[in-house]
Amino acid sequence: MRDYIIETHQLNFSFGKFKVLHDLDLRVPQSSIYGFLGPNGAGKTTTIRILLGLIKSAPNKISVFGKDLIKHRVEVLRQVGALVEMPSLYLHLSGRKNLEITRTLIGNISKNRIDEVLEIVGLTKDAHRKVKQYSLGMKQRLGLALSFLADPDLLILDEPTNGLDPNGIKEIRELIISLNRDFNKTIFVSSHLLSEVEKVATHVGIIHKGKLHFEGSIDELRDQQRPTTLIEVNNSAKAIEVLQAQNIAAASVQNGTLKIEANDKPMIHQINSSLLNAGLEVYQLSPQQSSLEDLFMNITQTAQN
C-alpha cells in the first residue's frame, strides 16, 4: 500500500511577478479525506489546478499515485476525478446527457455506471431534466457525479459546498463521507471554512499566502489547541499593562474581555489577585476550550504578522 497518493515537492508558482505558491510540500495519505484549508486567495484553487494539470508546472514537482504528473498526465488522470470551483456543465443538455458525454470522452465505462452515479448523488428522478433547470445544489451533485463517473481512486474537490444553503452543504458533506467510507476513495477537498472541513476530514493542510503552515491528522491539529481563560474587567487597557508586568500576553482583546493562554488554577489565582490589587474590577474569569476555528485563525494570523 502506498503511503501518499499526492506528493508535491517544493512546488512554486507565480502569476507574473506575483508569487502564489511558495515551496509547497503536500502529502496526502491514501484513503484519507484531506481538508485543504485556507482563507480566500491563499492559493488553494491554484494548487488544485496545478494538481490537475490545468496550469502547467515543472516536471518532478508533483507526484500522484507515485507517478510524475507531467510525464504521465493521462495515466494519472485516469485515476483522478475532479470538481474545480463551480461544476462545468453543458446547461442546455440533461443531467444524463452530460454524464453520457463524459462517458464517451473517457471511454471504457459501462452504460450502467451512469445509473449508479445518478443513484449515489440522488439525481435519478431529475436526470432527464435540462441542467439549466437544476438548483445550485443539484448542479453541484451532478458535478460530483461527473467526477467519480470513471470510478477513480482519488477525488479532488475545490470548494464543493460553495454557494450552497445549509441543506445542500449537509448533502455534499454526507456524500463525501460516504464516498470515502463506502467506496474507499481518497478525497482531497479544499475549503475556506474550518467548521466544514472539521466535520469530514481525517487530515488537514492549512495554506496561507501560498505557504503550508500545518499538515497532519485532525487529531494532531487538535493537539495544538491551547487552553485559554477569558477575563472580563472594567478597564482592559490597564489590565493588559498589569498582565504584561507579569510577562503574560493577552491573546485577544474584545469589548473589555481579554483572552489569555493559560487555565491552571494557581496562575488564574495569581492573575486575579494582581488585577484586584491594581484596583480593577474583575467580573468574570472563565476557562475556555479553544476551538479549531481559533487555532485556524491563530495559524493564519500569525502567518500574516
Partner: protein, 263 residues
Amino acid sequence: MLQRFYLLRELKAEFSKYRRTMVYWLMVLCPLAIAFFVFVINNWTMPTSLTQLIEKGKNPWEMYIIIHYRVMSIMLLPLYIAMMTGVIYGREHRNNTWKHLYALPIPQWSIELSKNIFSLLILLFTLLIYAGFVLLSGYVLSMTNPKMNLAPFDNHLGFNLLMALKVFLSMISIWAVHNWVGRRFSSFGYNIGLGLVGVISAGVLIQGWKYVKYYPYAFPALGVLDKQGIHTLFSQPIVYSLIVGAVLWAISFWDIHRRTIRA
C-alpha cells in the same frame, strides 16, 4: 492502443454536445436562407445570363450554380465562419467546460484537434447542404417561372459538388483565423467584428490591390470569380488558402499549447 481512438471518441462527444444548439440550426438555415434569397432574385429579375442560355437551348445549370456560389462566398461565408466558430467555442467558454475537459484523462492535443475537426466538418456539411438547396431551387424555379425552366437540362451535380468543395477549401484560411480567435477569446464580439472587417476589406481590396491574391478573406471570392480555373479544384486561390490556412492553424495550435494556464 487506445491512443488512436481518442479522437474518434471526442468527435462523437462533440456531435452530441451541440444537440439542440444553434450550431445545427445555422448549418441548415443559413444555406436555406441564401438559396431562397437567390431564388427570389432569379424568379423576379430573370438574369439575362440565364434566360439567354435557356432560349438558345444551352444548359444553364453551370451558370446557375456559379451565381449561387458567388453570392455564398462573397456575401455570407466569412461572416458565417465567424459566427459558427464563435458559437462552437462560445458553448465551452460560457459553461467554463474547458477545465472539465482538460482534467479528463485524454491527451490535450486531441481536445483541441477534435474541436477543430468538428467545426470544419460543420462548415463542409453547410456547403453540401447548400449544394442540395441549389439543386432543389433550380427545379422549384422551373415550376414557378416558365422562362427559367432548368428542369429539362442535365443538373451538373458533379460541378455543383466540385464548387461546394472548392468553396470549402478556399475558406480554410479564414476558418484558421476565426478558429484561433474563437478559442482564445470568450467574447463573441471579437469574432464577428473581425469577420465584418474581413468582408469589407476583401470587398475593397479585391477592386485592384496588387497583393489581394494573398489576402485570406479574398480567397473564397477569388476562387469563384476565377473563370479560367473554375473547373479545377486546386486553382490558385484554393492552393494559397490551404497554405496560409495550414500555417495559421499550426501557429494557433502552438499558441494554445504553449499557454501556462490551460483552462
